[in-house]
Symmetry: C2
Subunit: 552 residues, 2 copies
Amino acid sequence: MASKLKLIPLGGLGEIGKNITAVEYGRDIILVDCGMGFPENDMYGVDVVIPDFSYLKVNKSKIRGLVITHGHEDHIGGIPFLLREVEVPIYATELTAALIELKLEEHSQLTNTQIFVKKAGDKFRLGCFEVEMIHVNHSIADAVGLAIKTPIGTIVHTGDFKVDLTPLQGEMTNLARFSELGNNGVLALMMDSTNVEKPGYTPTERNVGKNFEHLFDGCDKRIIITTFASNVDRIQQIINVAHKYKRKVAFTGRSLENILKVCSEIGKMKIPEGTIVEMDKINSVPRNKLVIICTGSQGENMSALYRMAHSVHKQVSIDARDMVIISASAIPGNEITMGRVIDLLFQRGAKVVYDKEAGLHVSGHASREELRMILALTKPKYFIPVHGEYRMLCKHADLAREMGIKPNNIIIGENGSVIEITQRNIRKNGAVKAGDILVDASGTNEIGSDVLSDRKHLADEGVIFTSLVLSEEDGSLIAPPEITMCGFADPGDLEMVETNLRRIVYETLSYCDKKHIRNLATIKSKLKTNYSGYLYKTVRRSPMVVTTIHKL
Amino acid sequence: MASKLKLIPLGGLGEIGKNITAVEYGRDIILVDCGMGFPENDMYGVDVVIPDFSYLKVNKSKIRGLVITHGHEDHIGGIPFLLREVEVPIYATELTAALIELKLEEHSQLTNTQIFVKKAGDKFRLGCFEVEMIHVNHSIADAVGLAIKTPIGTIVHTGDFKVDLTPLQGEMTNLARFSELGNNGVLALMMDSTNVEKPGYTPTERNVGKNFEHLFDGCDKRIIITTFASNVDRIQQIINVAHKYKRKVAFTGRSLENILKVCSEIGKMKIPEGTIVEMDKINSVPRNKLVIICTGSQGENMSALYRMAHSVHKQVSIDARDMVIISASAIPGNEITMGRVIDLLFQRGAKVVYDKEAGLHVSGHASREELRMILALTKPKYFIPVHGEYRMLCKHADLAREMGIKPNNIIIGENGSVIEITQRNIRKNGAVKAGDILVDASGTNEIGSDVLSDRKHLADEGVIFTSLVLSEEDGSLIAPPEITMCGFADPGDLEMVETNLRRIVYETLSYCDKKHIRNLATIKSKLKTNYSGYLYKTVRRSPMVVTTIHKL
């Protein structure tokens, strides 16, 4: 029996984050991207969310390569974790490769990993697959889509993309190549769904530059601009405008410093001689001749802008002689933290420009008409929307139907879905283990659901510890009970509660004695029931109750 | 010396929530509104945020009345808590009063409270003040602004408002009265800043009705609509459209049922005979002849729509024969929870209409041009922007400056600011205690900052609890140490950690013995240091460490 082609998205479906897809045929698997996500609010103490690699661990002998579409964290952030489980060569364009190297260096994994630098237009064989990289526009330079020639036909994966007709650097998305592939026959298209809810076309990056000019023109303040560190084109535009208005440029924030280092190493940024000034020398430049580019466009805790807003930045103290430009839009979930930072900047007297109307940011993702364009050019037989919340995948499927793709040829998958493709049909055939693996800052501790549910209980209600010393002989209390409460109530209220809990300890032990209950687990459970009853009745609270008993 | 007029906003500045302002002259204070707010994400276990009433407790003998502008929670939610501290008569319009009564009934406070029902146009005296209610449009019926005649001049407080030229019920905002007041001289204007960042005019409520019609027309599905329960006009529009298309209407969700009860008691809603169907009888109505109006427009936990999405609603099971209309926009911070509910509805196959472009919601707050209009009509000498985040207050101040108000006559306050007004000038003169009081679901427990910081620590890192029994005589261990960990790590990792912690207990005690350390606090602190060192080194974690020692 002939092998079947399987597409297995292990992340990125039903979410915008931790993108990773396995493409499998016979004895060969290639991976497209390996990202990480950020924790939701109720994932206490979790710093990073990575994909479940179980399926890849089991099939590690089949994996021929990891192909990366671009250098954003939701496409490369999972790599160090994957490499702990599976040895795999990596294929990426120059900037992407440099960002991966930086990341692996931080994780001390660089020396063991093969990274092959490719460029748009390159084709290379991985097992039974031939992979071709296709230039696309995105909010980071050196992004590519992929054409993957498989034994039964060509799969096109757009990666994250938009169609920028006037890109700042390089060419626009290689529509000609997508069109050629379409004319030669595309079996399946996997396409970025992020902006499927946005009508029309995503504006060009160049618009932002024009609006920077309006703001710089005649401005006598120091200018501080925050944006996504990885948006090399945006940073280039800021540098260009600064140069035009004879301002020096300084950078602050670790991720920006990293990007700058990487870009200057590979020559991705054009910085006119003498433009850059070190942060510790900014005082030598007149305020109205300075631009500071900084991290913190999402209000991130302890980012450079956050520190400025809270007056704890080493070199920058904000006042009325500053104009702060927020060249980003808040990612859903970050509006409130970003709003707080803006409020603080206002309180320090700064002029803050952050309005949507000011056109200081454009998206890196294709809107509906661009998605239609790629569908029209590639004319795929099958369509699988990827990179989106579930509702976006559904809307993207609707769009594909409107564009004439047969309903049966469109698959809305979930993370782990095994999407089986033959030349005759496409279907979901079962699923492999997939989901969120929660990791803390150390990157070594996985945080399971039991730990999370304990943390949720602790966070909402606090905990009461009771320690008892009982006589081995007759079960009687031979030391005063020790009761400790954390995160439960304010000291004022504690005394009364503690007195009552102490009484409950005595009553419970006396009850157990009367009933000849000597089993420690039973005593603990009785105590918990009695505590809980009292606490709920008097203060409507249900803290975690933990009891230890020493027998002597 | 003549008394000074003081405006003291105790809430609503630097936030959109818990609005309350004290107006004080000589021996008289009146309060405008008394709202509550919702907790931020890091306020673990907090359900309600109320204003700090310290200043009012101290000055309770001066308080002549509480005047409420409208029935939204951020204007009435704090009343039950205020009434525990201060006895005060309440003045409100009919619907507002009914909603307050409902709330006080739930808190068993109704019998002790005087509520005077007033209507727009009414004037009444409270101490040295004369208060006049002025009809305004808002997203709840029966909203008013206030003109407060004080011994030194008239203060206008807009309350929350917009200018709807074609309101669904009643008149448009009483611009004529604002204009008359302006002609007679307004000393100070306090105005709603919520939408100061929105250019132009806020659209009329009637637009939403038209868009409902488009969706109902020819629809063969059951229609489920969620909106804010308090938006009586919106609900009226749904009923009107349902009636036109010969559909019955059912309601689900407690706050909606409450509103409906209140409105039908005071005749605020016009419901054609035979339109309503009880939820437990909806199966007797054909699906395409039914509209269900439900709570949950913000994705709130356990709201009616949330339960439908999670397939745990008693009477409603969602499938492809349903169209769900989200007639609301997500309040910042709620986008993610709302997105999850929409995703689940999609997964059940429902058609979901939620796009901003569909025009299924309009704001209840005035945009920039409407704010300008009120400034132009009232021509106030002094201006105090209220009801907004700090950045909005600043933008509102800019707007007032553009409209010709002198910069020195504009005050951006903070909660607690004492804004002193004479006929000659306005200034901030110190501050009174104000801020967030955090309350849990029971409504009786105040949650202080120590408790919150413990909860944050517990949530992020978990806790390790150690109980020791030491000999009184020589400090030696006379029972095995008991170590319990909660929310710290998964069971797989615990064993190794526990073994090592046990070793650290022995080492620490032996060290203390050698150094003749017998003080329990010192032993605990040594143990904590040693635990922390080990845990940080091996797993980069810093759980809370709690130790109790019994001496025998």
